[in-house]
Every structure is written in structure tokens, then in C-alpha cells.
């Protein structure tokens, strides 16, 4: 194997793939990135067995071949090479990869390409194209609610499925940690209507989220019951899906909440942030006292005292006190794009629904705290 490649494009591709590689691996081959040169391109592959990223980039002077080298080491080397350098890679007979740029020269021990685990796609019968901006939206609006608790592994990802929306079927992303829930809808792309509901693991969500920022156009999605693939042009992410059943979340989204509250989102978020400074304990509740067109936020801290703040709000229903975890409130308010946030409440011990005036296709459910 032999090739020459621009330092910046090698760095960019390595940057995309190497973060999949777990830093401490007990299986040496999994610490490596697979380099495969053929047809005018170098393709790089990294995997942790649950997730694989392949990215191809242009190279020249190619003598075809393939090998694997330690991903983080290669990445570090390339990162430290001067900007604009031409990097040449060549594999010698002793299974060592020589990396040369200017007067720098490195030799890395390799492991044979045949040892590198390949993630077979299998048959991915459902194929559709999802605009990158929509995929980004689905992720951003929901991922804060993904559970990190491993024992409830089926909540450790985003549930992507076709659901019945108010005006017909939608492609929906849902995440919940059992305390709060976030849901975002988009139109069902052609070819997705028959797809099964799948749970995309948190790590995969993170990897694709990174790629979206550098990508425009449509992401090619292909999936089966057990695997999903996201194609970003040159880069392709293939991942196993979480093998579990996502709970029937629709049951916990209240339909009949009648007490309507709406107020300025930024002012609300700032006020929550301010009053919660009094509490040393971030898990303490912010109490919202809802009265006639006003809302009073208060936090009591046994150590420090109390904080209150009053805000103007549109509220006509009967007066009520309700407590929320301030962090959860801020998480949700952080997703709201519009100036106004609306909430529908029922009682201090029932879930509250929060919606975004600017994005009606997103919805949040928050369970209160006892105050």
C-alpha cells in the first residue's frame, strides 16, 4: 500500500472516525483504524463493534493495499504535522506503516487488515433520504432527555419511528429518562412509511450529530430491525440498534390538561436560572405559583434562604403551585426556539406539557417534583 494525501483532508477524516475508538481497549485491533487504498481514494474505518464509521477521501499516487494502525497515535501525528503538508503513507513488508511529511518520518506497527472486524450491514430493507437539517432537529430536540441509566438500556437512545400525528403519519423521535420526555416530528420521507420503530443508541446519536454539522443535503438512512446506517456522502455510519422495547410513551403524554400558561421563554429561563442560584442543591425544586396572569418563581434553600421572582404571564385558570427540577426546566426551555413558550398543566402531581410556539412539531413532557 502506498499513497500521498493532503494533511488537512486526512486530518478531517481521521477526526471523524477516531472518536469511535474507545480509548482503553482490551482488544488491540479495536484500537486501530483500518486504512484501505484503492481507486484513487483512501478509506478509513473505525469500529467499537457496535458502531462503525467509514470515511473515504481523495488521495493520489495510490498503490492499492490495506492495513490497520493505532487510531489515536495516527491522529496525533497527523494533527501535529504542519498545515498544508503532503503526507505520504507506505506499508513495508514487515507490516510497518511509514508516514512521511517534509522532514518528519514515523514508522508505526500495524496489525493485519484481515484481523479487523467488519461490520456487516446485512439486509437493510428500509431506505429513505432525510434532510440533514431535519435529522439535526430531531436529535437536538430530544437527545437531552435520553437516559444514562444503563439498567434501563431501552431508554439509552432515541426512539425513531413512524407515528400517527394530528394530521396523519409523521416520522417521530422520542427520548425519555423516566422523569421527562421529549418528542419531535418531521414528515415521513419516501420509503420510511413501513419502517419498524428503532432505538438509536446514544453514542451513535453523538457520532452522527458531529457529522451533520459539516454536511448539507440529504442523509441516506437505511435500516432493518437490528441495524441502521446513515450515509453522509463520503462518510457512512453503521450502528447496531438497541435491542429492546421502547415504552408506550404516548400513554404518559397527557391529552386533557386544561390550565394554559404562556410566557416569554427567555425571561422565564433567566428567572429560573436566577432563583435557583440560592440553592446549593441543583436537584431542589423551583416552585411556580400560578396566579392571574402572573407567575412567581421561588426556591427555598435550608442553607441559604429563599429567592423569589415574579414574571408576567398569560394564565387564566385557577391558581396553583407546582414544583419542577430547575435543571429539567432549563433543558426544555433551551430547546424552545420561539419567543413564547406554552405549557398545559393539570395539577401539581401530574405531568405538564410544554410546547414551542415556533416549532409545533416538538413537544416536551415534564413530571413535577413534590414541593
Amino acid at each position: 500500500m502506498k499513497l500521498t494525501i493532503e494533511r488537512s483532508s486526512l486530518l478531517k477524516s481521521l477526526g471523524h472516525v477516531h472518536s469511535v475508538v474507545e480509548r482503553r481497549n482490551t482488544i488491540p485491533i479495536l484500537s486501530n483504524v483500518l486504512l484501505d487504498a484503492a481507486d484513487g481514494r483512501l478509506s478509513l474505518t473505525a469500529t467499537d463493534l457496535d458502531l462503525a464509521i467509514v470515511e473515504a477521501t481523495e488521495a493520489h499516487g495510490i498503490e492499492p493495499g490495506a492495513t490497520t494502525v493505532p487510531a489515536h497515535t495516527l491522529y496525533d501525528i497527523v494533527r501535529k504535522l504542519p498545515d498544508g503538508a503532503e503526507v505520504s503513507l507506505s506499508l513495508d513488508d514487515n507490516q510497518r506503516l511509514t508516514i512521511e511529511a517534509g522532514r518528519s518520518s514515523f514508522k508505526l506497527a500495524c496489525l493485519p487488515r484481515d484481523d479487523f472486524p467488519s461490520m456487516t450491514d446485512g439486509d437493510l430493507p428500509h431506505n429513505f433520504a432525510l434532510p440533514a437539517v431535519e435529522l439535526k432537529r430531531l436529535i437536538d430536540k430530544t437527545r437531552f432527555a435520553i437516559s444514562t441509566e444503563e439498567t434501563r438500556y431501552y431508554l439509552n437512545g432515541i426512539y425513531l419511528h413512524v407515528a400517527q400525528g394530528a394530521d396523519g403519519p409523521v416520522l417521530r423521535a422520542v427520548a425519555t429518562d423516566g422523569h421527562r420526555l421529549a418528542q419531535a416530528d418531521t414528515v415521513v420521507p419516501e420509503g420510511a412509511a413501513e419502517m419498524p420503530g428503532v432505538i438509536v443508541p446514544r453514542k451513535t446519536v453523538g457520532e452522527i450529530r458531529k457529522l451533520i454539522d459539516e454536511f448539507e443535503g440529504d442523509v441516506e438512512v437505511a435500516l432493518s430491525d437490528t441495524k441502521i446506517r446513515f450515509g453522509f456522502g463520503q462518510a457512512v455510519v453503521t450502528s447496531k440498534l438497541i435491542d429492546g422495547t421502547f415504552p408506550d410513551y404516548s400513554r404518559v403524554i397527557p391529552k386533557g390538561n386544561e390550565k394554559e400558561l404562556s410566557l416569554d421563554c427567555r425571561a422565564f429561563a433567566n428567572a429560573v436560572d436566577r432563583v435557583s442560584t440560592i440553592s446549593t442543591d441543583k436537584s431542589r425544586a423551583v416552585k411556580l405559583s400560578l396566579g392571574d396572569d402572573s407567575i412567581t418563581l421561588s426556591v427555598t434553600s435550608p442553607e441559604n434562604g429563599t429567592a423569589t421572582e415574579e414574571l408576567a404571564a398569560a394564565y387564566q385558570a385557577e391558581a396553583m403551585d407546582i414544583g419542577f427540577n430547575s435543571r429539567y426546566l432549563l433543558d426544555i426551555l433551551g430547546q424552545v426556539e420561539g419567543d413564547t413558550v406554552a405549557a398545559r398543566l393539570a395539577s401539581p402531581d401530574a405531568p405538564t406539557v410544554v410546547t414551542d410556539e415556533a416549532d409545533q412539531a416538538a413537544l416536551y413532557v415534564l413530571m413535577p417534583m413534590r414541593v
Binding site: S19, R23, F144, T148, E149, H179, K210, K282, N325, L330
Partner: protein, 669 residues
Amino acid sequence: MDAPSPSRPTIRRLGRTTVDRIAAGEVVERPANALKELVENALDAGAAHIDVTLEAGGKRLLAVEDDGCGMDAEALALAVERHATSKIDDDHDLTDIRTLGFRGEALPSIGAVARLALTSRVPGSDCAFALTVEGGAVGAVKPAARAAGTRVEVRDLFFATPARLKFLRTDRAETQACVDGVKRLAMAHPGVAFTVRDGARLVFQAARRLETGEAALRARLAAVLGRQFTDNALDIVAERDGVRLGGLAGLPTYHRGNAQQQYLFVNGRPVKDRLLTGAVRAAYQDFLARDRHPVLALFLDLPAGEVDVNVHPAKAEVRFRDAGRVRGLIVSALRHALTAAGHRAADDTADRAVAAFARTPGAGSGAWTAAARPSAAQMGAAHAFQAPLPAAGQAPLPAAAGPGLGEAGAPTPYQPAHDLGGPSWPVGDPGADRGGEAAGAEGLGGAGAYGSLDPGLDAPSARAEAPGADDAALVRHPLGAARAQIHETYIVAQSGEGLVLVDQHAAHERLVYERMKRALAEGGVARQMLLLPEVVELDDGAGVAALVDRAAELAGFGLVVEPFGDGAVVVREVPALLGDTDVAGLVRTLADELVDLDEALALKDRLFHVCATMACHGSVRAGRRLTVAEMNALLREMEATPHSGQCNHGRPTYVSLDLDQIERLFSRR
């Protein structure tokens, strides 16, 4: 087996030998029991030196030689007769027993099942006498020669009851049991010198301690349980209503996997009592995991009328007239000592260099609290470990924890996006992520804070921090200023006098625990209601019943459970400070503990146990990367929190090494 014979069985009076052998079976089950009786007799005789010799685990030979009051010819003959004793008389009742023996049963019992030989001389008399008993057959008293005192030899124990022999364990196990028994008695009698020989080999020796009181006891306990123990033990002294408690209790950091090394002596008599087990557990539960046990030797002295020693054939158990009071005295005396010890923790590592990493002795929390009360912001940052997770950051956490754990192991609230966003953690440029740090404490407030994560970061396993502006002030705190986090597990701080190494999980667990207790005292732990109530299957009904029984108390801790069909509960609300936690795991552990501890612990103790379990579930794990602000906040909160020197499992939370010690390590002194 044959069919039961229709003929009526005849009742007969048994011969004396058989009666004696049956009785002997009660008193002497194994060599160690016989030996205990002989040594007790020597102690009752006022001996200053007691020398024991065993052969073949005591089966071939048990010999006890003393320099006590001895027996004359007449006494010798009586000694081997059943129910003959010099220690009580018919005018006194059994409620006033001051000697170890009182029944006059030991020697005849042993004589019934072995070849017993007694040789004794009363001090001042010029003749010694000897007597033998073989399988119950008593010989004649004959003149003999020996120094003042008594030698009792038991040969071929159980030769007359071969069935019993079969039940004995290996020689080695029997020897061990014999030595243990002597050691127990030795602990309670520091003024008596002991030796034990296995054949010719000296296996135990304790010199006579002529000091008085505590000093003698300490020295004796050091000889029996080891210096390690006495160096890591607290003096216990308490007295209430004529009941006196003394002895030594090990520091929680000096613990064992079982409760074998918990000794209780009642009026100088070693006893086994479940009361002790329960009391010790209650007293240490703030400091020790349930499966770890402290080492202790407690001596209870109370008026003879307050305790019945005549309840067990081997005199190994006693009954207290007022058990509750005795238990209360033990629990409160232990608690008192443990609390006073505050930050002291055991240092029982052999390695000299590490031995130098000793806790500053006597650095009580009290002194610290006055010196450094953390600000609200600092506390806030510390508590933020706790807050539920805002974002499932996809950061490739440099996982000491391995795949996944770093992300999911703990309710880590803020993924330090700023940290991960940095170019890299440069070992050579420790200032690089300073900017992010300040944001660390605040930044978590900002919503949607998962910054773009530069995949390009490289994470060394240690991260150094450059001193900041307010550093001089920080260093003056007892636990100093955080300088680095190593292996994502330990915080290294520089203090005025040296360096401090903190175990982040242990420390945080203790803080969460103390916070829960505080919250509880203030009227309850904040509760997060669950959007998705969690059904937890328990494999036994006892668990469900225990949980449901305690539902009201658990609600005080923020955990609301209800019965749910057969063998399950549904959890509706959880303690908010645990964040996104393993509810099912927590509930199962609690159920087990409630079932286990229900009788062992008083209500209040049980509640604190619940706290401890919850704290363990809710604490930041090893493997989580902390910012400098978080680390300093943790240090400040530790200083402000009582008992923060150990985690609830009795492990130290930090060690400190002063400059003197460091210099000694490098031979600069």
C-alpha cells in the same frame, strides 16, 4: 430399621459412668472446651502464670500448669467428684457468681471421658498430691512432688466415648480452636502470663502485664490481636447505672470480612452474644459497609446480680437482666468514640512509603468547619455532580471506566463540553482549558450546552492544573487547592503543609450521605415524580412486605413505593438528588436490607442505613473527569462536613502527606 417393637420399653436407672459420660458430652464437646475449663480453673485459683501444652490438637494431650492456690489431699479427692466446688456454697444463690467456675462439673466430666491426672501442691505445704481418673474410674490420692500450684493433664480425650472422636476436626483445626480459647481468656486477664505450646513449639505467649487498668489491657490486646489493631483502635470508656464498659474498638477503616474478631467479656468471662453483634452493627453503620466488620474487644463489668451466667453448658452465653440498657450503653459508647475520632482513619498498610501517607491525627472536623465554610457557589458546584443529566453528551469520555461506563455510570450532570471541546489536554500547557473551567460551575445552567465536540482531543490519564489567581487562599484550606485529577479517580491537592490525595467516589458518597441525613432532618428529601413509574419485581414476598411496611419512612427519603400485584412494587417518586438512577437496583437492595436488618437495628439506625444505600447509588463514580472548580468545591464541602474522613464503607476518603514525610521519603532528612 426394624418395625417398632410392640413390647413396652422398660425404664432403667443408668449407671454412674454412663450418666457422667452423657453429662460430659454437654460440657466437653471438643478439646478446646476441656482446655477452657482447665484454664478457667487456673485463673480461679489465682495463678500468675499459666502454661498450656497440647499434642495432636489436644486429643492426645492437654496439660495446664499453674502457680495458683493448689489443692491439698482432701480437696483433690473432692475436685473430681460431681457437684463439688469451692466456688459457691449453698448459702449463696446463683445470682452472685464472681468466679469463672461455679458448678463443680468440669473435672468430673473430663475425668469421665479421658485419662485425667492432677498433681497439686498448696503453697507453703511441703507435700504435693496426685490423683488420676480414667474413664470415670477414680484412683487413690498419692503423695507426689511438684512446685506450688497445680498441673492437670488430660490424655486421650474421648477414649471412653469413641463416637465423639469421629466428630472432631483435623488436629490443626482443633489446635486452632484451643489456642483461640486461651487467647480469649488471656485478653481478659492481662495480669496473668500465658504460654501455649503445640508439642514443643511455642504458639502463643503473653507476658504478665503489671501496669494497671487501660495500659495493661492495651498491651495485652496488642499481644493477642496484634499491634496493628491497638494502633488503630479507640479507647472505650463508659459507665451508666453501675454498668461499666471498657476496651478497645477498631477504627472503621480497620475492618474485616466477618465478625469473628468481635470479643465481648462480661465480668471477665468471654461470651458470645447476639446483642453485641446488633449493637456493633448499629454503632458502626455510618462508617462501614454491611459486609465489613470492625474488630473490637469490649469488657463489660456489672453487678453479679445483673447477669445470669448459668444459661449455657459451656458457660459461653449469659443473660442480662436489662439487655436493652446494656445494648444502649454499648451503642452510645461506640458512637461517641467514633464521632470524636472524626477524621482519624486507619493506616494499616505495610508499605512504608504509603504508611507515610497518614491522616493527620486528630484533625477533627470541628476545627475545619470553623476555618472554612464554603460559599454558596462552591457548594453549588459541588452539588452539581448530583444534578440530573442535562445532556447525553456523546463525548468519547476517556474511559477509565471502559466503554459506556464513563457516560452512564454516574448521574453525571454536566458533560463538561468545554473540557472536551478544547484542543487537547496538553501536559505541557496546563492553562489551556482554564477558560472552560470558570464556565464549569455556571455553564451547566445554560441550556443546550452540548458544544460541538472536537473529536480531536486527546486525554492523558492525568491532567495538571496551573495555579489560578485565588490560589494562595485556596492552599490555606485544610485540604488545600486542587492541582490535578489522576486516573479520573483521585484528586491531588496542595495544602499548606503538604499534599492531599482524595478518592473522589468515596468522598462524594460520604457527602451525599451527610446531605441526605441533613435533608431528612429538615423535613424530607426532595422527590421527583416519575413520568414512567417503575415496576420492580422482587423475588420474595418478604421484601415487598418490608418495603410496604416502611413506605412512610421511605417517602421521607424521597422514595415512594406501592405494592403492585404479586411480588412486585411500583416506584412512583424517587429522591431528586439521585438524578437518573438505577431505581430497580436501589429498591432491591433496600428490600434485602430491610428484611435483614429489621430486627437488628433500631428505627433511626435503619433509616440511616437507607441513606447510605442511596448515597452509594447516587455518587459520582471513579472514572469521571472533574473540572478544577468541581474538585475545589468537593474539597471545601468535605471540610465543612462532619465524618468526611471516611466513606460510609469505612474506607478513608483522603490521605495527606506533609512535607516532612515527603522529604523523608526522598531521604532529604
